[in-house]
Symmetry: C2
Subunit: 158 residues, 2 copies
């Protein structure tokens, strides 16, 4: 995982991220009586290894390499499951999906998208959510919140 969001913008071994995260996902799904079936598991691996946001059709292309048929519902169903289980997030600015960096933990995801290297950092947005709650009209109950910032990371600015 990425306890430090800054690591998202640093080079590192992606396959290492993947292994532990998959193991944790297995445990989590078992605890919830949810099935991390082959497509779902592979989809999560694909997101973890990409280490950036991937469009559903990009995921689908990679699933095809693994023998699954190239049909949109294959990818969308797996992605929807992962999102519902909090193992992945949907990045609306990009029409894309990314593996969650804090699976199983209650958190408000906030995203930084580097337009230079396409890297994506997920950071805890609790404070951001509180600021919004304060600003919101009395009585409005926030269910789901998207916080997505596009910009340039340190490396890409220099």
């Amino acid at each position: 995982m990425h306890p430090d969001p800054a690591l998202a913008f640093a080079t590192h071994d992606h396959s290492r991220c993947s292994g532990a995260a998959i193991a944790q996902a297995e445990i989590l799904m078992a605890a919830r009586n949810q099935r991390l079936t082959p497509v779902r598991k592979r989809t999560l691996e694909i997101l973890l290894q990409a280490h950036k946001a991937l469009g559903a059709y990009e995921v689908l292309d990679k699933l095809v390499d693994d023998g699954f048929r190239r049909q949109p519902p294959v990818a969308y169903r797996a992605l929807d499951f992962l999102v519902a289980q909090g193992l992945a997030h949907r990045i609306r600015r990009l029409n894309a999906f990314a593996a969650c960096m804090y699976p199983g933990r209650v958190h408000v995801p906030a995203f930084l998208i580097c337009e230079g290297c396409q890297a994506l950092a997920e950071l805890p947005g609790q404070a951001v959510a509180e600021a919004l709650d304060t600003a919101a009209p009395v009585g409005f109950k926030i269910d789901r919140l998207s916080i997505e910032a596009a910009g340039l990371c340190l490396a890409c600015r220099t």
Copy 2:
């Protein structure tokens, strides 16, 4: 305009909002040497009167009623212009567009989307943006920020 975002969730005369806002847009565009052509002006009116987020194709349908041809670029070009000029915002969660409530003023838009009545409130998100900036890794420069919350307004909860 809506100095008080809470008004977005209260019933009121939409056509009244529109008139003043259009007049202001005219002034603003003149000052910037930008042309608020008929399609653009009508598109802005449509957004202002709808008083909620409208998909590009919904806008297009209404433009057709005014004699414009039903061709996607007609709507997208007008909408893109309005967004570029800060007269409208794009709501990514909804694949939709809404008139800006603070045209000509520097601000960070934050949106509350009521899933009960589909009303949309735009509120100043400066504090929210600052919270995110604080949480972001050193060196990341935020260019554009989406803050979009889905939930239920007071009226729809009761």
